[in-house]
Symmetry: C2
Subunit: 133 residues, 2 copies
C-alpha cells in the first residue's frame, strides 16, 4: 500500500502521514524505488493515532505507548493512566484560566454598559494621542 492509498483509506493527509513517521509513530518499509510501503495493519495504526490525537494527546505523547496499545488492550499499558491523569489535570488548568479570563471580560463589559447608561449622550472620540508627542 502506498502513502496515497493509506491517506485515502484513513482520511489523513499524505503530509500528516509523513509527519507521523518523523515522529516515530508509523514507520513503513521502503520499496526499491524509495516509495513507502505500508502493511494493511497501517490502517488500524493510523486510526489509533487519530483517536489519541482527538483525545488531545500530542504525537510525542502517543509515541510513548502506541506500540503497546497496538498489541494489547489499553488497560495493560502502564504508561497510559498517568498520561491521561496529567493530561486531564492540564485540561482542567486551562479551563480554569479561560474561565478567569472570561469572568474578567464579563466584568469589564458590565462596567462599560453601566457607564454608558449613566452618560447616555455619546461623545465623539477626539484625536488620538501618539506616544511620540
Amino acid at each position: 500500500m502506498t502513502i496515497g492509498e493509506l491517506a485515502a483509506k484513513t482520511g489523513v493527509s499524505v503530509r500528516s502521514l509523513r509527519y507521523y513517521e518523523r515522529q516515530g509513530l508509523i514507520v513503513p518499509l521502503r520499496r526499491a524505488n524509495g516509495y513507502r510501503e505500508y502493511s494493511p495493519l497501517a490502517v488500524e495504526t493510523v486510526e489509533t493515532i487519530k483517536l489519541y490525537l482527538n483525545l488531545g494527546l500530542t504525537t510525542e505523547e502517543i509515541a510513548g505507548f502506541l506500540h503497546c496499545v497496538l498489541k494489547n488492550k489499553e488497560a495493560f499499558c502502564a504508561e497510559v493512566m498517568p498520561l491521561y491523569k496529567s493530561k486531564l489535570a492540564q485540561i482542567e488548568r486551562q479551563i480554569q484560566e479561560l474561565s478567569q479570563l472570561g469572568e474578567n471580560l464579563r466584568q469589564r463589559m458590565q462596567a462599560i454598559q453601566q457607564e454608558q447608561g449613566e452618560i447616555p449622550q455619546q461623545r465623539e472620540v477626539p484625536e488620538q494621542r501618539i506616544e511620540s508627542e
Copy 2:
C-alpha cells in the same frame, strides 16, 4: 527615558517593548544616536497594554483601540464592546472543547479501571509490533 528604564519601571522586557513597537502599540521618539526616547506617559501606555494582554487580547487586537482608550474611558471606544463579545465567545468555545476532551478522557480512564478490576492478574507486555514488519 530609555528603553531599559521603561522596562525597569514596567516589568516588561526590553525585547517585548521592541515587539510592541513593531506591532504599532507604542512608538517612541529617537535620539540623535538612534536610541529610543520614551515620554513619561509611556509607563501608563505599557501598563494599559499589559492589562489588555492579560485579558487575553492579542497585540494586533489591542492596536485597534489602544489610542482611543488612552485618551478616553473605555466606554467611549466603540471598538471595544464587539471585540470583548467575540473574545468572550471564543473563550467559551475553547472551554466547551476542553470540557469535551476532559469528559472523553474521564470515560476512557473509567473504562480502563473497570477492565483492570475484572482481570486483576497483571499480564506482562509482549514484544512490540513494528509497522515495518
